[in-house]
Symmetry: C2
Subunit: 308 residues, 2 copies
């Protein structure tokens, strides 16, 4: 076992995020016993085949018994039901956290069920890929990525320090944030990009004048970047849209307003306005690369892997 170890860790949900956590725990020997629970028998079977834990059960209630750390990694719309199911079976002193992409809604769903003898600290690792399911996870997913914790007032300092250390062991850098602010930040850096990507892929799919085969053949000219985000898990993203509605609608309104400005500049041939925006946006890319949050290789380094 590593220096940070729990007697028993329970993972509820074993998709991309849950299974990546499981792999890190296994790799680093961070738990005496890992219990895995998910609602789908097929997924549970697959998790067992992959050897992601020590025991496996379809019952979340069973799964959490005796657990020191419980990590809920399910679509955010399912958080409330999971909380209700596990609450009566949580061990006193247990640390309960989640990985959901929206935080105010998850807190509203889970908090009312949490017994006073457990530490519930919501969290969100800012990491992922467009793939989903237990096969999609991998060691290193969280490395160098931020994990945001949104502790509720009165949270036990030791429990918070423990959860922070857990995510640091996953390779993450940890931030703390107010849940409402988290939801606003994620609306612009994650939710809006995914919605826009889904939307443009839908628009392209519906055209009468351009065939689907043309869209596919010539996608290397920009479109294919969007299709990656638009291949993300539909259940997860439906839930994100429904559970961070206000912040998403605010960002969508601003985006549309800005797009109308750009559209007008195109219509009236105002090249200077276009040039100003197109220049300004380059600086943000540079900052992201400098901050180590993206690769500097052209085309995301895809050329090395390109199936040509």
């Amino acid at each position: 076992m590593g220096s940070l170890a729990f007697e028993r860790i329970t993972l509820i949900g074993i998709g991309l995020i849950g299974s990546s956590i499981a792999r890190e725990i296994r790799e680093q020997g961070m738990a005496g016993h890992v219990t895995i629970s998910t609602r789908s028998p097929e997924t549970l079977k697959r998790a067992e085949e992959l050897g992601l834990g020590d025991s496996y059960t379809l019952s979340a209630a069973e799964a959490v018994k005796g657990a020191d750390l419980v990590i809920v990694s399910v679509p955010v719309g399912a958080s409330g039901a999971v909380a209700e199911e596990i609450a009566p079976h949580l061990k006193p002193g247990a640390l309960v956290t989640d990985v959901g992409s929206t935080k105010a809604s998850v807190i509203a769903q889970m908090m009312p069920h949490m017994p006073p003898h457990v530490h519930f600290i919501p969290g969100h690792p800012i990491a992922g890929t467009e793939k989903s399911g237990p096969d999609a996870g991998f060691v290193g997913l969280f490395k160098g990525r931020w994990c945001i914790l949104t502790p509720i007032e009165g949270t036990d300092r030791d429990a918070l320090a423990l959860l922070r250390a857990f995510w640091e062991a996953m390779g993450s850098m940890v931030d703390e944030m107010d849940p409402q602010h988290h939801d606003k930040v994620l609306a612009i850096v994650s939710h809006l990009p995914h919605i826009i990507a889904y939307n443009i892929v839908g628009t392209a799919d519906d055209l009468e004048t351009v065939t689907e085969s043309e869209v596919i053949k010539y996608s290397a000219s920009g479109f294919r970047d969007f299709t990656r985000l638009a291949a993300s898990d539909p259940t997860m993203w439906r839930d994100v849209c429904l559970h961070n509605k206000d912040a998403i609608l605010e960002m969508l309104a601003r985006f549309s307003e800005d797009l109308a400005y750009l559209q007008r500049a195109i219509r009236w041939g105002e090249g200077d306005k276009l040039f100003e925006l197109f220049t300004r946006t380059r600086a943000i890319r540079r900052s992201i690369v400098q901050a180590g949050q993206d690769v500097d290789a052209p085309d995301f380094g895809r050329h090395a892997l390109d199936p040509k």
Copy 2:
């Protein structure tokens, strides 16, 4: 020299595309002599330092003298001026082509200047990265990518076959298309994605409630994909917007209409509509990967290169 060789090739413009062509020609020994011309003395000097050609001149008129193949790789807004400058100096029988991202506008700008004794065949290699300038080019950029030729009525068949063979030697697959249809296809697969990317990066940059440092730190959650496209050459993209206005405005209108539908579904909590779209878009991604137009590795394979 390779099997497909020209006595003299002239490259007007030596940015990402021009310099990638130059590198392929050099690599394959496709020309007895390569002349490079560009308007910027710094860029020309850099091209010379990189050894991209055999002779270098700031004068496009000088550059084309005696050339068998002339490739114009400049922002589309500059095509007309280049055509006017080179026209009187073109050798009879010369093949003149371009690589511009819009075709109807390039034809309207260049065609009137072209003397009857040359073969002018517009073209567009569907390849690129977000980087620009002579250092950004590389051997392999065109490999496995499509190149669209939009020949004008009455184009000489032999000249067309020669240009097709040239692009095949670059590693491309070649398609022929009507210029208007090309502009419509590219509006959806390339122009709209870039405009949307520039726009969302601008929206994020303007927020008061979310800081720029937050946008940068958490960009791995989706946003960073957009910043790559939004780091593309501003002059090139200003010109594309101004020179493919009608098709872009049509695609923008459809995109906005679809986004309004999505926004309404979010506002009214219509999860089934969201789920339907988010599922449909996955299929297009699969087709693009199957067609060899993108990598199947999660996250574009970035994890292998990630600066973590």
